[in-house]
C-alpha cells in the first residue's frame, strides 16, 4: 500500500484486557503473560554474573546497575514528583563522601558506612535542595545542575576531605560476587518497592502534585512536604550508588561530582523510556555496554556515542521500554483509510 492512504491500527491483545486491573487471574496463560516479563528481568539480572566469566564484564555489570539506579532516581523525581533534577551527581558525591569520610575518619565498617552514607547523604542533599523546591521546571533543573559544580570547587578551595587527591584506601568489598550481587539485589528491591510506592496513595499524591499542585493545595495537602519526601527517596537511591562506588573502587574524590553522573542517567532514562522505572534498567543495559564496546574507537568513542544517543532521542522519543510494552501488549496492522 502507498504511504499516504493507510494508517497503523493498534489493538490490545485480549489477554491484556483480561489481566488488567484487580480481577483474580487463574488461567495459566494469563498468569504467564503477567509473570514472564518480570521473571525475565529478575532472573536475567540474577543469573548474568554467573554466565559472564570475564571479570571485566562483571565490573561493567556493576556500573550498569549503578547507572540504572541513578536513572531510576531521576525518573522517579521527574515523572512521579514532577521535579526535573539535572544534579544526580550531587547525590552520588554527597553519598560517596559521607560514607568515605565516616569510614576513614570514624572507622565505620563498610556495611555501616554504606548505610550511613545512603541515609545521611540523602538527608544532607535533601536539606541542600530544600530552598529550590518551590521552584518549577527548568528553574529547579538548572539550579540542581549547579550544585554538583559547586562542591568540587569548595573542596578544592578549602582543601578538605583530601582536597584534589581525594580520600584513598577505603576498604573494598571482599570479592567480585559481593560487588555484583549487592548492587543487583538493591536494584531489584528499589525497582519493585518504588513501583509499589507510586501506586500507593502516597504515590498518587506525588503524581497529583506533578499534574497540578494547585488542586493538591485546594484539597488541603501541603505540597512542599510531599515533594521533600520524594526528594529524600530519590536522593537516598543516588547516595547509595555513591557510597557503593566508593567501596567498589576504594576511593572517593571530587570527580564523584562529575558531570557524567548528572547527564548519563538522564540519557539512560530517555533511551529506556522516561516515565517507566523499568525503562531505566533497560536503557542502562543497552547504553553502558555500548559505551564499553565503543572503547575500540579510542577518542572517537564519545562522539559516536553522543550521535547514537541523539539518534535514539530524535527517532524514538517514546523510549525503548514503551516501544517493547506496546509490542507486547498490542498487535498492529496496516489499515487502508
Amino acid at each position: 500500500m502507498p504511504q499516504e492512504d493507510r494508517r497503523k491500527e493498534r489493538l490490545d491483545r485480549g489477554v491484556k484486557a483480561r489481566t488488567e486491573g484487580i480481577y483474580a487471574i487463574s488461567a495459566p496463560r494469563d498468569i504467564a503473560y503477567l509473570l514472564i516479563p518480570r521473571l525475565v528481568l529478575i532472573l536475567g539480572l540474577l543469573i548474568l554474573p554467573l554466565v559472564m566469566q570475564n571479570i571485566y564484564w562483571q565490573k561493567v555489570l556493576c556500573i550498569i546497575c549503578v547507572f540504572a539506579l541513578l536513572s531510576i532516581s531521576f525518573n522517579f523525581l521527574t515523572h512521579f514528583v514532577g521535579i526535573v533534577n539535572l544534579g544526580n551527581a550531587l547525590f552520588v558525591g554527597v553519598g560517596g563522601y559521607t560514607s568515605a569520610v565516616l569510614h576513614s575518619s570514624f572507622k565505620l565498617s563498610p556495611v555501616l558506612s554504606i548505610i550511613a552514607g545512603t541515609f545521611g547523604g540523602a538527608l544532607i542533599s535533601t536539606i541542600l535542595l530544600l530552598p529550590c523546591l518551590p521552584a518549577r521546571g527548568i528553574y529547579f533543573a538548572i539550579a540542581s545542575l549547579m550544585y554538583p559544580l559547586i562542591f568540587p570547587r569548595i573542596i578544592e578551595a578549602l582543601n578538605i576531605f583530601g582536597g584534589t587527591d581525594g580520600i584513598i584506601g577505603v576498604a573494598t568489598f571482599p570479592n567480585i560476587w559481593v560487588d555484583q550481587y549487592l548492587i543487583i539485589v538493591v536494584l531489584l528491591v528499589t525497582l519493585f518497592v518504588l513501583r509499589r510506592l507510586v501506586n500507593e496513595d502516597f504515590g498518587l499524591i506525588l503524581r497529583g502534585i506533578k499534574d497540578n499542585d494547585q488542586a493538591i493545595r485546594a484539597s488541603g495537602i501541603g505540597v512542599t512536604w510531599y515533594k521533600t519526601q520524594g526528594v529524600f527517596i530519590a536522593s537516598a537511591i543516588g547516595c547509595f550508588t555513591g557510597a557503593y562506588l566508593v567501596h567498589l573502587y576504594g576511593w572517593a574524590g571530587i570527580s564523584l561530582f562529575g558531570l557524567d553522573f548528572s547527564i548519563f542517567p538522564i540519557a539512560v532514562s530517555v533511551v529506556g523510556g522516561s516515565g517507566t522505572l523499568v525503562g531505566s534498567v533497560v536503557g542502562s543495559l543497552i547504553l553502558v555496554p555500548m559505551s564499553e564496546m565503543l572503547r575500540a574507537f579510542g577518542t572517537l568513542r564519545i562522539m559516536i556515542y553522543c550521535l547514537i544517543l541523539v539518534g535514539f532521542i530524535t527517532l524514538k522519543p517514546e523510549g525503548l521500554m514503551r516501544y517493547f510494552t506496546r509490542k507486547y501488549e498490542q498487535f498492529e496492522h496496516w489499515k487502508r483509510v
Binding site: 496513595d201 497529583g208 497540578n212 494547585q214 488542586a215 493545595r217 485546594a218 484539597s219 488541603g220 495537602i221
Partner: protein
C-alpha cells in the same frame, strides 16, 4: 441562621501591576448562605476567590473564618480548615482515573482527622462520592482517565473533590459555564442538596437565572470593586447594576 458571619472578608485588595483586580472588597458570609457573586468578565470575581483561598497573596485587607484571622494562611491550610474551592479552569489530575482523583483529597489531613483514620477502603469511598455528584456507579465512567471525561463530569469531579474534604464552605467558580441546559438542570439540585446538608456556598456565576433561584444574597462586582449587595430582588431593581453589568437599558431577562 446565626447572625455571626462564618466568613468575614474585609477590605482585601490586590493589584496586578497597577490594575486593581480587587479594591477594598469586603462582605460577610453567614452560615447556610448561598452567596452569589456576579459581574462582567474581568471584574475580579475569580481574583476575589483566589484572595480568599490564599492562592494569591493579598496586598492588603483581612479574611476571618469563624472569627479567626486566616489572611496569611497558606492555601492548603485554608483548605484544611474547611474552605474549598473549584477552579474555573478545571484542574483534575489528568493522568489518573476519576475515582483515583478523589483518593488524593481523601488522604488529606483534614479527612484523616475527621474520620479518625477509620475511613475504610478509600476507593469505595471515592466511588460513593462520585455517585453523590452524579457519576453512574456501575458504568465505566468512574474508572475512566480524567483526561477523557467530558466537561460536565469534570465539573462534577471538581465539586466532588471539594466534598471529599467535608468542607464548611464551598466556593464554586462558574460551575455552570460551558454546561448544557440539561446538565445545568441536574447541577442545580445537586447544589441545593449541598445547601440543605448545611454547607455554606459562595458561587460565581454568569447564568443569572439559576443563580437568582439558588442564591439568597448577591454581590455585584465591577472593575474590582463591590458595587452592590443584596437579595436577588434588590439587585434586579438596582440601577447601578443595570448600568455596569447589563449595560444601559435592557431587561434582566437577558440570559
Amino acid at each position: 441562621m446565626t447572625n455571626k458571619p462564618i466568613l468575614k472578608v474585609s477590605e482585601v485588595s490586590k493589584y496586578f501591576g497597577g490594575i486593581g483586580a480587587a479594591k477594598n472588597v469586603s462582605f460577610d458570609l453567614y452560615e447556610g448562605d448561598i452567596l452569589g457573586v456576579i459581574g462582567p468578565n474581568g471584574s475580579g470575581k475569580t481574583t476575589l476567590i483566589n484572595l480568599i483561598t490564599g492562592f494569591v497573596k493579598k496586598d492588603s485587607g483581612h479574611v476571618f473564618f469563624r472569627g479567626r484571622d486566616i489572611t496569611r494562611l497558606e492555601s492548603h491550610r485554608i483548605a484544611d480548615i474547611g474552605i474549598t474551592r473549584t477552579f474555573q479552569v478545571m484542574r483534575p489530575y489528568y493522568s489518573l482515573s476519576a475515582y483515583k482523583n478523589l483518593v488524593i483529597p481523601l488522604n488529606s489531613p483534614r479527612v484523616k482527622r475527621s474520620s479518625g483514620g477509620r475511613l475504610g477502603d478509600r476507593d469505595t469511598v471515592a466511588i460513593d462520592l462520585l455517585e453523590e455528584v452524579g457519576f453512574e456507579r456501575d458504568s465505566y465512567v468512574p474508572y475512566k482517565v480524567a483526561s477523557v471525561l467530558p466537561l460536565g463530569y469534570l465539573k462534577r469531579l471538581e465539586l466532588a473533590r471539594c466534598l471529599a474534604l467535608k468542607p464548611e464552605i464551598i466556593i464554586c467558580d462558574e460551575v455552570f459555564s460551558g454546561l448544557s441546559m440539561s446538565e445545568i438542570a441536574t447541577m442545580v439540585p445537586l447544589l441545593e442538596k449541598l445547601h440543605i446538608e448545611g454547607i455554606t456556598i459562595m458561587m460565581i456565576e454568569h447564568r443569572l437565572r439559576e443563580l437568582f433561584q439558588l442564591a439568597n444574597k448577591v454581590i455585584v462586582m465591577n472593575f474590582g470593586e463591590k458595587i452592590a449587595e443584596g437579595t436577588p430582588g434588590e439587585i434586579t431593581a438596582n440601577e447601578k447594576v443595570m448600568e455596569a453589568y447589563l449595560g444601559t437599558g435592557g431587561g434582566i431577562e437577558l440570559c
